[in-house]
Subunit: 408 residues, 2 copies
Amino acid sequence: MSRQRAGLGTNQEAVRRHNLGTLLRHVHRAGHISRAELTSMMGLNRSTIAGLVAELESLGVTERALPVGARQGAGRPSAGVALADNGPYVIAVDLGVDRAAVARVGLGGVVQQRTEAPIDGGGGEAWQVGASVAALIRGVVEGAPAAAPLVGIGVSVPGLVRRSDGLIRLAPNLEWHDVSFGSIVLAALGLDIPVSIANDADLGALAEHQRGAGVGIDDLIYVSGNVGVGAGVITGGHRLQGAGGYAGELGHLRFNPQGRPCHCGNLGCWETEVGAHAIAEAIHCPADKVAQLGEVLGGFDKPTRELRATGTALGHGLASIVNAFNPRLVVLGGYFRSLFMLVGAEVNAGLADRALPAPLESVTLALPGLGEDSVLLGAAEIAFEPLFVDPVAALGNALVDVRSRLAG
Amino acid sequence: MSRQRAGLGTNQEAVRRHNLGTLLRHVHRAGHISRAELTSMMGLNRSTIAGLVAELESLGVTERALPVGARQGAGRPSAGVALADNGPYVIAVDLGVDRAAVARVGLGGVVQQRTEAPIDGGGGEAWQVGASVAALIRGVVEGAPAAAPLVGIGVSVPGLVRRSDGLIRLAPNLEWHDVSFGSIVLAALGLDIPVSIANDADLGALAEHQRGAGVGIDDLIYVSGNVGVGAGVITGGHRLQGAGGYAGELGHLRFNPQGRPCHCGNLGCWETEVGAHAIAEAIHCPADKVAQLGEVLGGFDKPTRELRATGTALGHGLASIVNAFNPRLVVLGGYFRSLFMLVGAEVNAGLADRALPAPLESVTLALPGLGEDSVLLGAAEIAFEPLFVDPVAALGNALVDVRSRLAG
């Protein structure tokens, strides 16, 4: 912080940093935006916007760009703001049950480098998985420009994550209880950097709302098949988190009390009918392929009778969800993406058969706009979040020349 | 509006009115509050607060009061602000299936007068019910001071209400489809005044959050037994409404697909096990008493085996709700209030048996803090809402000397 800036009133400086973060959030969402648009979106005057843009440029985060929409505007076109090359980046980790995907992601949600590898999830100790993930992180960090600052790490987990501190309370298909995975990964890397952890479906919902199928839609649910079944809910434009951060465990809605035992101890949770194990059994998929169910389903040319029945059960469960949450959009992620491509008619019919007419009439089922990357890009979003709250502080805490630190 | 005020910039006047409404909302919630507290809560300086308070006094909404907490404070005690006698009021209507309760409610949620009467809900035409409700409204308005302004009418309905315009899309136990009940009541009264309509459980949640068992708790659910079963959800301090306003239809969560037919067309919705008709049958309550199930249950000294089983089924359904929403508090309203007093142990055991441990550990089941009046006071809240958005405009639209208008 310059002496001149430190001389400003504390409150005035806090407002300025807040505005700086908000402006950067707009650029991050849009990718390329004009100063005139920023002036209008933020309700600040042109000289204030110019000052904020100049500060982001001096921080190496944005750069001057060609005017946006210069051909359409009357009068002098407004200068554009674009994201800088070699700007800040984050590491996004999508931790699955048998494999992890890791990416280096820049502002604007740009995947700069991506890798994935099997992990020994089912039964492997958390520290072993942490070491595997750390190795993947090293791989993508090595490709980063030395000058680019690493802001933080975002991790998606198929389980219940405590909002207050990111503790993984339960990841049933990894067989983890009360695991502080952030500390494990940082220890394996030998780095001290912010790590944010959240539930996979919550992150899918966040990313689909921000840049996927749900842009501009403020009531949406991302239902994820990722061995287990979970959901992320956006309501009124905000994440539904619940008191502790555990909201959205829709795989454990009661579905068929005469049904099969669920790992949670109950009989007939929805997950026992549309979870990966149930579907794998129905289509005679070998047990060691359960975690790749999406790919297995992608290999089907046309639906079998069993898959059609599963599609109907998916629709019936979605009816409860539509009655409970009245979403405008339900995005079907994970292996539900492949399933919906095969038996979309059955899913829609099952939903229509069971939902109340009023919430049914305004809901649409859709594939993820971000394909298989919703959850990974959601993990990037939570890692970037400190940068939009206070860019000066977040860049102060960021690491540059990470490769040499890792090597040492 | 005075000429002087009209001379202010439009934006400045809008900010002033917004602040005036926010200050009034604080007084409404607290009932009696000091200027110093208002200064601190609103982040405005003392002279601005003094000006706003003076304006509310001149509008007849608040009055000067003895200092609050004068004995504890060091230094000169801060002047108090209290709600004026003869200030603005609303009419709250709690429309049940076989009776309606109507109250005149002042700021601070004070019930000034209250009446209720049977209505011919099940099968009665909406215009007949509207005429009965209008007669009840006349009764409570007649007791109002002539100078007190009537701000609006708030109506609670056991059904699905479209948020955009208050249309009752479906009130199953009234057998109503697409009824514009607000217009019907206004026509019967011969008045032109704002009418706000919402779902009963949503209003119960609102009132319990504002002044009942859920004060200070930002993640709560009000589950209402009112012949049918519904819920109102507060998440992160805000009402969960969904895309159209229909969220919270938890009575139609799938519960037992081998169970009984539900009026919605499905088999085995939760409502078919814990709805009033199911409970009445289990305890051999005559069909014409179903709508008074709460009173019938209140007559039991101790639970029967059938009631204990119902308590377990209530707990099992609440487990799905706790898994889905992760609330801190679940308030049991309507006839669930009487049921919970009888078989609370079974309800809690049913919940504990089926909910996931992480969301279970922080949730509490509770009786409504507002007794039987949660929904009625919630209806008053939505009727007051315009007054907290812009008091000057709302009082400009309010009616004084309503009695003489009704007589004419």
